[in-house]
């Protein structure tokens, strides 16, 4: 492997870990329910990269059999990640839908405010109304 290729591969690895940790940090540190979901998406995206990176082979081509080529990229990670992306979209959609319902029921999407509204006697009275208001 040439020096350029080696550096490039190290750089992608660092990027993956950076995105992974940054995403996880946002999930933990942010208070806003939507921003948490964005962080979660970043975290998941880094995993897509983690899978896809080793599937790429230098000089390899798309895995369609052709007499002109004899080195192919590994197609399996792509298929796996296609599935994982679908799962990620489902999770994000459900999370956003829940955020909307929380906004309707509580009038806010800041997590600490939501939790504070259920404490104390005022919270007990409001809860009776139920999520559908």
């Amino acid at each position: 492997m040439s020096l350029v290729a080696m550096l490039a591969s190290e750089a992608t690895r660092f990027t993956i870990v950076l995105v992974m940790v940054a995403g996880l940090y946002i999930v933990i540190a942010r208070n806003n329910l939507i921003k948490k979901l964005v962080g979660l998406s970043l975290f998941q995206s880094s995993v897509y990269l983690l899978y896809l990176l080793p599937g790429k082979i230098f000089g390899g081509t798309a895995p369609i059999i052709d007499p002109r080529f004899d080195v192919y990229a590994n197609p399996l990670p792509h298929v796996l990640i296609l599935t994982a992306i679908v799962v990620g979209i489902g999770t994000l959609a459900l999370g956003l839908a829940l955020a909307i319902r929380i906004k309707e029921a509580y009038g806010t999407i800041e997590e600490d405010e939501v939790l504070a509204k259920d404490r104390g006697p005022a919270g007990a009275a409001a809860r009776k109304a139920g999520p559908r208001g």
Binding site: K36, Q44, V47, V87, G90, T91, G95, L98, P131
Partner: protein, 498 residues
């Protein structure tokens, strides 16, 4: 080939497909009256297939099913052995009983238009859990894990209380982090071995040059699954999720969801990595024993101070999962048998307990401990079921909880850890406190206004509740059948042949 033989060949896929297709059918038909019968029928087919699989596996040892006819190298393999056939049986049987129980509870707790969606989600959750248990492919397990998780979040969010939404959101965040950790670990395993089939991974593990990749993979996978099975201290999502979900959903989750995650952990610990691997200076069994003990004591103590019965039982679930993981960590035949017995027994008694609470919720409109005062006089049969389940949770002799704890104690002594046996007994004393508090309120308090107005639960809810409670007693007296299945599972996990 006769028709029956043809069905026998396709049993593994029928178990999963029946609830999955049933869910699609319920969602397409979307008629409130039709959804319950379809759901029950789908669960019945699945349960029948799982029941038949028990016999097939006892004859053949291992049933391997290649989806689409592709070899495991390329395709996905369903692999059923003595370990997961037990899980399949528990999940399908309890789901079926839960669905039989659900009709009136769901009609009372869920808005009319959402009832078909509720049943569709129950079936999807069931299919996801069964898929996790049956698959022999690490990535396929992730997909099924997310199928069951996403439907679970939806089920929880259908709860009446607005806190159900927050509980579902928080579980979604934690659950997704757990699943992503798992998939990172699987990715590392794939990089190291070039395959996703669990059996092939095991074959190729000795050739892996870098132990560091394996250690990282094991750490990610175990932590990811630990989040899903609510291993202490990763259990924070569970009490709210169980507490605010609709009653029928709570029954399904409490008795099956965490159990399947435990199975997956056992599969990776014993079947892939080997239980005695050490990560640096830390031994996996040591950590697992420590966390299990913490769960048994801390969560039991937390249960004592709960004001809502559903949350009380949820904390008790965290503690009971501690007993199961303790059995895994013991890693000897008696301990593992105890763990798998407890998976079965806890599914039955927690199912019965949450069903009883669901009936109380239907009749009294509350699951607060104070509102249950004197309920034993107006709803005696429900209260009896709750009492039997409670005694099972303590592990009173004559209930199935005693049998599984007995095996765990035996396992502790086999391992030369007498102090651990003492801890198992000591933590049961805390269970006496929270169950005692519950039973005192139910039987000895003066009934309140709500309890006096309540009448006995409808038969369609009472019979499933009493069935599970009855099985708790039956397996406490005659544990031959579950002990044989759990023993076979333990033998296979420890590398022997049943």
């Amino acid at each position: 080939m006769s028709f029956l033989a043809a069905i026998d060949q396709h049993l593994p896929v029928i178990v999963v497909l029946a609830p999955l297709l049933g869910a699609v059918l319920v969602a397409l038909v979307r008629v409130e009256i039709a959804s319950w019968p379809i759901a029950v029928l789908a669960a019945l087919i699945s349960a029948a297939a799982a029941f038949r699989l028990v016999f097939v596996v006892e004859q053949l040892g291992v049933v391997s099913y290649r989806l689409g006819g592709f070899a495991p190298e390329l395709g996905i393999e369903y692999r059923v052995d003595a370990v997961n056939v037990l899980i399949l049986l528990v999940v399908t049987a309890v789901s079926l009983v839960t669905l039989l129980y659900a009709r009136q509870s769901v009609a009372a707790e869920i808005d009319g238009g959402r009832v078909p969606w509720f049943y569709a989600m129950m079936l999807v959750a069931m299919a996801g859990l069964l898929g996790m248990a049956i698959t022999g492919d690490a990535f396929n397990a992730f997909v099924f894990l997310e199928i069951s998780s996403l439907s679970t979040y939806t089920l929880i969010a259908l709860g009446r209380d607005r806190r159900a939404l927050v509980a579902a959101y928080q579980y979604l965040i934690v659950g997704t982090i757990g699943a992503t950790f798992y998939v990172i670990g699987v990715g590392l395993l794939y990089l190291a071995t070039g395959t996703l089939n669990l059996a092939l991974i095991v074959e190729r593990l000795p050739d892996v040059v870098s132990p560091r990749a394996l250690i990282a993979a094991e750490a990610f996978i175990l932590v990811g699954i630990a989040l899903k099975l609510a291993l202490f201290p990763l259990h924070a999502w569970l009490p709210n999720a169980y507490g605010y979900a609709p009653s029928a959903a709570t029954v399904l989750l409490a008795s099956t969801a965490t159990k399947v995650a435990v199975y997956l952990m056992a599969r990776f610990l014993f079947g892939v990595f080997g239980i005695h691997v050490e990560i640096g200076p830390v031994s996996v069994t040591g950590v697992l024993i420590l966390l299990s003990l913490a769960a048994m004591f801390v969560a039991s103590l937390a249960a004592v101070f709960q004001r809502d019965v559903k949350r009380l039982l949820a904390f008790s679930s965290v503690a009971q999962i501690g007993y199961i993981t303790l059995g895994l960590a013991l890693a000897n035949p008696a301990g593992l048998t105890g763990a798998f017995l407890h998976i079965v027994n806890h599914a039955l008694m927690k199912g019965a307990a949450f069903m009883a609470i669901g009936a109380v919720l239907l009749r009294c409109g509350s699951s607060r401990l104070d509102d249950l005062a004197g309920i034993g006089r107006t709803m005696p049969a429900t209260a009896v079921a709750l009492t039997i389940a409670g005694l099972g949770l303590i592990g009173v002799p004559g209930t199935s909880g005693f049998v599984s704890k007995w095996y765990l104690v035996l396992g502790a002594f086999d391992d030369g850890k007498g102090w651990l046996a003492f801890m198992i007994v000591a933590s049961s004393v805390i269970a006496v406190l929270y169950v005692g508090r519950l039973l005192e309120v139910v039987w000895f308090r003066e009934p309140g206004k709500a309890a006096l107005a309540a009448s006995e639960a409808p038969l369609s809810m009472l019979l499933p509740t009493l069935l599970l409670a009855g099985l708790t007693i039956f397996f406490g007296i005659d544990a031959e059948m579950p002990a044989r299945l759990a023993g076979a599972a333990a033998t296979v996990l420890l590398g022997g042949h049943p």
